[in-house]
């Protein structure tokens, strides 16, 4: 439980900001505007992390999501210049709407109905603990994550290489 006028006001403000921005991703008719709304959602989530005293995760959220992923998405949009940018829905949009409403309509009553065992006083979760866990219990998944990142990096480079570059490389190898 989080008490105090400041945190409670911050919660409601962040909720309104995040959900309205997420709505903006849905309704904006320009793909660039949708990405800008998505950035606002990412920042709102970072604010939630701060409110939940996960300061390291808040910073990681800003750096990775706003700094890297949003920029990557913008790159993908400008690299596909002749694709339509109207952010339109497919014919299946009503089905998708039913799916979304069903998820929310099933989960929210379940959440409100459940008996959560919550703490009255919050535990301190310092970053040093997170680092110790990552390099202790979770060291194998941590290493696997670095392998995954390397593989994703190489895969992305291979996928976006232009056919011309590939031909040049093959020619060079044949000459050798």
């Amino acid at each position: 439980m989080i008490e105090g006028a400041g945190p409670v006001a911050a919660f409601w403000g962040l909720s309104a900001l995040t959900l309205l921005a997420a709505g903006g991703v849905v309704v904006s008719r320009n793909l660039f505007h949708a990405v800008l709304f998505l950035i606002v959602v990412f920042l709102g989530i970072a604010g939630f992390f701060l409110l939940l005293s996960a300061d390291f995760l808040a910073m990681a959220q800003v750096i990775i999501y706003v700094g890297a992923i949003a920029v990557l998405i913008l790159f993908a949009i400008v690299l596909t210049p002749r694709a339509s940018r109207d952010n339109a829905e497919t014919r299946m949009a009503p089905v998708a709407l039913v799916a979304g409403v069903a998820v929310a309509g099933l989960l929210i009553p379940a959440i409100l109905d459940a008996e959560w065992r919550t703490l009255s006083s919050a535990p301190a979760l310092p970053v040093s603990d997170l680092g110790r866990e990552l390099l202790g219990v979770w060291v194998l998944p941590f290493q696997l994550a670095s392998v995954l990142l390397t593989a994703a990096l190489v895969g992305a480079v291979v996928l976006v290489r232009s056919p011309r570059e590939e031909r040049e490389e093959i020619d060079e190898e044949e000459r050798r």
Partner: protein
């Protein structure tokens, strides 16, 4: 006035539902990816809320899990956007309705 775990989980669920709608309904492959990112963020919010507010001896594990989710999301978005660019190079479109060459 106070904010409880249920409040955070409700916001997370709403965000997830919006992300699901975006991922299922948008025509542009990049927009579909934005929906996936929304869903991942919603799950991260739920994980951090559980770590802070639920009664558990493994609270920091929630934070560890969020770190892994962010890592995998970064890897996934890089590969998916590379795929979108590769599809665009061959077909001049990233409309998921028009990329149907595997349809029987």
């Amino acid at each position: 006035m106070s904010v409880t775990l249920e409040h955070f989980l409700t916001v997370s669920t709403l965000l997830f539902a919006i992300g699901l709608f975006v991922a299922l309904s948008k025509r542009n492959a990049v927009a579909v990816l934005m929906g996936v990112e929304l869903m991942l963020n919603a799950s991260n919010l739920a994980l951090v809320a559980f770590a802070r507010l639920a009664e558990t001896s493994l609270a920091i594990t929630g934070h560890v899990f969020v770190v892994f989710v962010i890592t995998v999301a970064a890897a996934e978005v890089a590969v998916a956007l590379a795929l979108a660019v590769a599809v665009y190079r061959n077909r001049e479109t990233v409309d998921v309705d028009k990329v149907t060459s595997l349809r029987a």
